[in-house]
Amino acid sequence: MKQIFQRPKYLKKTPFHYCPGCGHSIIHRLIAEVLEELDIGDIAVGVPPAGCAVLAYDYLDVDMGEAAHGRSPAVATGIKRTLPDRIVFSYQGDGDIAAIGTAETIHSANRGENITVIFVNNGCYGMTGGQMAPTTILEQETTTTPGGRSAAHHGHPIDLSEMIAITHGSVYIERTSVHSVKHILGTKKALKKAFNCQMEGRGFSMVEILSPCPTNWKLSPIDSFRRIEKEITKAYPLKVIKDLTIGEK
């Protein structure tokens, strides 16, 4: 009898506080697995900002420094520049990265900071109770878009990853999802590649992960998975948006 799946080393024993079926939990585990497989957990420093995943430090068993809402990439910049041989990553919600943190994200990419950004796109502000996020798709109902998001009243969903890809300092940007086994494994691969990119000193890497928020979508976890497949991946197509990791550094 061989155990073929177990709790990864860099995940603490603490049970997650996340809602049932929340994508954050899956993504946390994937990070822990990748840190273990790349053997970088002992030199990793993570930077979660305000958001449902602010408590990521209760789960990931690596050094973690909490940032103010939206400022993770700046904090991560400070850490990485001070300790260039450590592995530094930020973990950010879509509100965090694409609203209040727009400038910090774009400019750390533009500077080519050699950090890895994990961008969890669940289409809403989870922690504060389900308000519209910049990524909320049109017609989606949230607590601040009663009747659904309308471009005229609430503006358009934003393609942050595509914008980041334009910056000259960004090296690897991929959009993945966790709404099926296949996609979860794909996300893991992307995370690995992103961390590898940092290990090789290539520059800014980011993985945007479509993630379910059953609570605020008011759907069951399974229906949330289905919604990602049916609706969200239409608005946010899964793909490698930029990849300069090939070839000589």
Partner: protein, 165 residues
């Protein structure tokens, strides 16, 4: 339930303060609310030692039993919490709310049954006020829901008035 009661008390001309629990509650923790009713001005919105508590689940019982004012009264959903109390200075009114709800025909009216029982027992307000409060708040919803709610209220009230607890 707390809100409906608070509105009813307000309609009776009382001072009322209703405090829901708020914030990161979404992800675990026991939800609760506090209603203060008085003929005078209400000071603290937090009840440090409540007179009454309506208890819907086990963790809440553990939490609130300790806080109760001596001589206070607990309304316990006995379908879910069969066990007894530790404190002997508290009165307990046990209502098998889930069981009654099943009889009434909907799992959703458990709250209303408890509220009916509470109102009947405490007389802090009247069932009529509760119903008029309800009417305002289910405006949007159908008459059938209202009917169901009323039925549940009366069944709850009936249950305690028959001294069943």
């Amino acid at each position: 339930m707390g809100y409906v009661f608070a509105v009813a008390a307000m309609k009776d001309g009382k001072n009322v303060t209703y405090l829901p629990s708020y914030g990161a509650e979404m992800r675990g923790g026991t939800a609760n609310c506090t209603v203060a009713v008085s003929d005078d001005e209400i000071f603290s919105p937090v009840a440090s030692t409540p007179d009454y508590a309506v208890i819907m689940n086990k963790p809440s019982l553990a939490k609130y039993e300790n806080m109760m004012k001596s001589g206070g009264m607990l309304f316990i959903n006995s379908s879910i919490i069969p066990q007894g109390l530790f404190r002997s200075d508290l009165a307990a009114v046990r209502i098998p709310a889930n069981d009654i709800a099943r009889e009434v025909g909907s799992d959703r009216v458990v709250n209303m049954i408890m509220l009916g029982a509470f109102t009947e027992k405490t007389r802090l307000t009247s069932l009529e006020s509760i119903i008029s409060s309800l009417q305002e708040n289910v405006k949007a919803k159908s008459a059938s829901v209202m009917k169901l709610n009323k039925k549940a209220l009366y069944r709850g009230a009936e249950y305690v008035s028959r001294g069943n607890e």
